[in-house]
Symmetry: C2
Subunit: 337 residues, 2 copies
Amino acid sequence: MPNVPEVTPVPTSQPFPTGEAEAENTLAGIGEFGLIGRLTQGRSPTRGTLLGPGDDAAVVAAPDGRVVACTDVLVAGVHFRLDWSGPEQIGRKAAAANLADVAAMGAVPTGLLVGLACPPDMPVETLSGLTDGLWAEAQSVGAGVIGGDVTSSPTLVVAVTALGDLEGREAVTRAGARPGDTVALAGRVGWAAAGWAVLARGFRSPVAVVSAHRVPEPPYASGPQAAAAGATAMIDVSDGLLADLGHVARASGVRIDVRTAALAVPARLVDVGAALGVDPMHWLLTGGEDHALAATFPGEPPEGWITIGTVAEGEPEVLVDGRVYDGGPGGWDHFAR
Amino acid sequence: MPNVPEVTPVPTSQPFPTGEAEAENTLAGIGEFGLIGRLTQGRSPTRGTLLGPGDDAAVVAAPDGRVVACTDVLVAGVHFRLDWSGPEQIGRKAAAANLADVAAMGAVPTGLLVGLACPPDMPVETLSGLTDGLWAEAQSVGAGVIGGDVTSSPTLVVAVTALGDLEGREAVTRAGARPGDTVALAGRVGWAAAGWAVLARGFRSPVAVVSAHRVPEPPYASGPQAAAAGATAMIDVSDGLLADLGHVARASGVRIDVRTAALAVPARLVDVGAALGVDPMHWLLTGGEDHALAATFPGEPPEGWITIGTVAEGEPEVLVDGRVYDGGPGGWDHFAR
C-alpha cells in the first residue's frame, strides 16, 4: 500500500509470527516502514489533498460540505488471482470498483485510502505494482491515494475506501425511480464476464475480453452527468445488470422492464460466446465487474447513455422482454451457493 | 459488517470456493444479503449521517469543508485472537484504533466504514458481535457505521476507515513541534502491553490489564481539546510512546527528551511487572494499543494532560532521561524481526 499514516498497533513484540522469509526484496526483508517509504516515494498529491500520507490521518477538501464514502474489500483467490492478473491490473480494478460507486452517487472522486494485508514473504515488486495500479486509476479521475495501512496477513487482502464530492448536486440513490421513467445504461456490460469465462477455461485470449476482466473501464464522468441531468436513481453495475436493477426496483418500489433488443451484443462477445457455447446476452444481463452505470430518468437520458427499458408500477422486480429472466443466476452472493 | 452499500463484484459464478459449511447460523447459510440485513437492522443513523448503509456509497456531513480520513486493517491471528478477546471487544478495538487517529488530528469522528472479509463457516453471531462492538465504540463518540462491505476470505480481516470533522480548527500534524515546546500525554500507556504480556503467558487476570488489552480507552476528547489549546504537534500512541514520539521528532526535525520521573507507574502495573519479572516502565515507554495521545505545546498543556518532557534542537531522536533508551525494542514493525 501506498501511504500509510498509521501503523496498526500491536504490543512490544510480534505475537504470532507469520513467516520466516527475510530476503531483501520481500516485505519481511525491508520491513513495514521500508515498504511504506517505497510505496509513497515520488507521488504527487492531487488538488483536493490538503494533507497526504504520513500522519495519523489525511485531510481532504470537501467543498460541498458533504462527503461521499464507500468501501470495497478484494481478497486474493476470491476476487482476483495473481496468475490471471498482474499486480498493477489488480490495483486498478480495486480502485475502479470504488471510484465507480462514487460516480454512481453523482459525485466526483477526491481520494482513496488503501488497507493492505499481505504475507510477509510477498515480493515488494508485487506491492509496488498494486500501488502503481491504484494510483494510476485514481489519477485518471483526478484523485490520489491519500492514506492507508500495511500489515501482515496469511492472505493478501486489499481494502479500498473512496471519498467523493457532490459539487452541490443531490446524491442520486437507488430509491428514486418512478413509474414512467426511462432506464438507461452508460458503459459496457458483459465484457468482464466473457473474459472471466475465457480465463476460467484456461485461455488467455481474446485479449479484449480478458483485459476487460482484468481492468474495468467504468464511465466515471457519466455519473455526475446523470445527476446533473436529473437522474432519479442510479447504481453501479457490479453484481450484474439484472441483479443491480433489482436493487433499484426494490429500493424504489417499482417494476423495471428491460428490452434485450435495446442491448446490442458486441461482435466480439458474439464470437466468444460461440466459441464457448454461451449465449452472450447472458453475460450482458448477469455479468458484473465492468462497472457500467445504470440510471433512471424522467425523460430521455443525456448523451452517451442508451435507453434499455422503462420503469412501471408493480411488484419490485426486473422483467426481461416481459418475463422473469431464467437464463441463469442473476447475481452474485459471496456466501450462499 | 454492518451495512454494506455495495457487493464486491465477481462474475456470475463463484470462481474459488472457500468452504462447504451452509449451516443456518453461518455466513454460507444465510448468504451475503441475509448477513447484511442482520447486521444493519435496527441501527439508528447518527446526526451527521445524511445517507447511511444500503446504497452505492454513504453521504456524511462535512460542515468544515474538509474531511479527515484514515484506515486501519486488523487481521485475525496477527492483531487479535478470538480465543483472547470476544467479537464485541475486537470490534470496539478496531473502531478505537481509527477513532483515536481522527482525534490525534484534532478532529471529531463523523463516521466509520467497515470492510469485513471472513470465512464462510464463521458463525453469524461472531459477526454480529463484531458489529455490535464497532457500533458501540463509534456511538461513544457520536458517530455511526455509515457503510461497508462483506466478502468471503480464508482469513478474518477487519478493515476500518474513520472520517472526521475539524470544526474549523487547523489539523495538528506530527511535523509542528518546535524547540522549547513541552511534551504532554493524555490517556494511559503501558496497560495494553501489560495485558498482552499476561495473556501471552496463558493467564486471564488481573482483569484490569487484560481488559485494557482487549478494549482500549482512548481519550478521544483530548484531541480536539489539544488542537483548540494550540498544540503544535500530536500523535496517537499506537506503536509505543517512544516509537510514536520518534515519528514526531523525525517529522518535526527536533529532539524530544522524555523524563521517566514524570511518568507515574500505576500500582497495578508495578504488581504485574513484579509477577512477570518485567520493569513496568518498559511497558509505559514501548507499549502500544492504549491509544493515548501525545502532543507538544508552546507552553503548559491544557487540563487533563500531563507534561512528560521537552522539545529541543538536535538530531531527530527521542532521549529518555538524557540517554537513548536501551530497555528493549522501541516499537513495532509488522514485517521485520
